[in-house]
Amino acid sequence: MSGPAAEGVHADNVFMSFAVTSDSHTLDAYRGRGGYEALAKALRTLQPEDVEREVTASGLRGRGGANFPVGSKWSFVNKQSPVVYLCCNADEGEPGTFKDRWILEHVPHQLVEGVLLAAFALHARHAFVYIRGEFDLPLRRLRGALQEARAAGLVGEGILGSAFACDIVVHRGGGAYVCGEESSLINSLEGKKGYPRNKPPFPAVKGFYGAPTVVNNVETLANVPWIVARGGAAYAALGSKANPGHRLFGLSGHVNRPGLYERPTGYSLRKLIFEDAGGVLGGKALKAVIPGGSSTPVLTASEIEALTLDAPSLQQAGSMLGSGGVIVVAEGTCMVRLLQVLTRFYRHESCGQCTPCREGTAWMDDIIARVVDGRGEAADLANLQAIPEGILGNTLCALGDAAAMPVLSFVKKFGAEFDYFVANRRSLYDGRLEA
């Protein structure tokens, strides 16, 4: 990635354990760092169920945003099924999130090794990487890595001389945020439009072409080589006890040093923003933080004071750790116009299948647009609460909730700004978005 490099390279890191150079993404470089030793160890000394046991013991949870325990997800699959599929979700699209892109560009072999280990554990002969259609360099790096891996006998038949075989297909998306939802991704991979499916049955029972299927995020799978190499217990000892591991936090918005930071869970959010990322632009006061990607409820400056970056702590604060995309907002920013950026996005990305989401996202966006246009009415604010409440929990997939949560939290925590805009027909902060 061009621009500000992430800080803090440590040998014990899961991802940022080396200095990025022009060839650090290659097979030679990855092997030089101990790459594919976990795969060799698994094929030589472990059974598939041993790999699953280590991942379960590690406490690893899904890094795509849902934070679901990975070992549990794998355990739902009937390993006796004649066909099991593994899909790697590389459709990174949650605004504020850019970690999977870093993995694909800089450690593609670490992802490939993670995919192979997961496929081994799940008895999956075929794995698919569903990659965002816009991604160009990530796609070329991944394809290059697979080419190298095939030539080296790491992908395909008889991997490393064992009986294990796995092919990895790279599939490009078509530009749809909802395809990051796992059942939507599966429909897209089957050549259909990406409508989410009703659940149950969950993909682990009935997924890709009706077969048991596991869908895991890029960062999730790229953790697996470390876990297999050093053991699930060693991973479980990283970070916070309740939600262990390392995460790639993406800092964006009004901070002096935006970029990607690998930190253990349980890390101080304040420290991440004010020390590691150099604080708020222009030395301004902090106004708000969206802690885990655009869908997660916004927090005020006072709410993040003592906050640590782990799921239970974020949940207690009324938000979510999500995908690790920390969006920082400086004092003086117009929260009404900022919310409009999000309502426009969710309206655009609602797939149209469920009525509450299809209609609700359009209504919310229309109302915000009217307010921003200086034509807001007193009833608008009540509707900006009633409509998202009507969406929450009433849709097939999480996109409905993702669209509702920002509106509810912005209006609840910055209601005075919305009131001011409606009453005075103009922004309290001159409509400012830049710091």
Binding site: A176, F345, E434
Partner: protein, 163 residues
């Protein structure tokens, strides 16, 4: 497999389709729909209904399924686009870093609003959602290439090189 409409299989599409199909497990030809549409678009710039029928024939799925996919995925163009497609991100991280300014600047420079194509057919200008480059915002993608940490001068340099 049936032949597609006469003018559809130009530039050896079928060979490219075969090559792609060879990378997927057998019995999964339906999965080829989106990648095949992408190949057509790469070759021709946009995808027509006749192309969709050609893809449906090749993949062995109902034409309605392909046409539906064609209209559903935002990266597929059903109308001709300019020689270069300029996508400026308007989502939250870029908005906080000045995408409003950049969008206005590109609009002024190219003389078309988002969604439009310049009269000389050189540029199509789109305002797009998050490109997953929030740490280096504001960003735009021109054709396949990302341009990060933009300001007006940098935008000018990128566009100037393509004129």
């Amino acid at each position: 497999m049936k032949e597609g409409p006469g003018d559809t299989d130009t530039g050896g599409l079928r060979e490219q389709f075969d090559r792609l199909g060879g990378t997927y497990p057998r019995q999964m030809s339906a999965s080829l729909v989106l990648p095949l549409l992408q190949i057509v678009q790469q070759q021709k710039g946009h995808v027509t209904a006749a192309d969709a029928h050609f893809v449906a024939d090749y993949a062995g799925v109902p034409p309605a399924q392909v046409i539906e996919a064609l209209s559903w995925y935002t990266m597929l163009h059903r109308q001709p686009v300019g020689r270069h497609v300029v996508k400026v991100c308007r989502n939250i991280a870029c908005a906080l870093r000045g995408s409003d300014r950049l969008l206005a600047h590109v609009e002024k420079t190219l003389g078309v609003a988002p969604g439009g194509t310049t009269a000389d057919g050189r540029f199509t200008f789109l305002a797009v959602e998050c490109l997953a480059s929030c740490g280096t915002a504001p960003v735009m993608q021109v054709d396949e290439t990302y341009h990060e940490q933009l300001d007006e001068a940098k935008v000018d340099r990128v566009l100037e090189e393509l004129r």
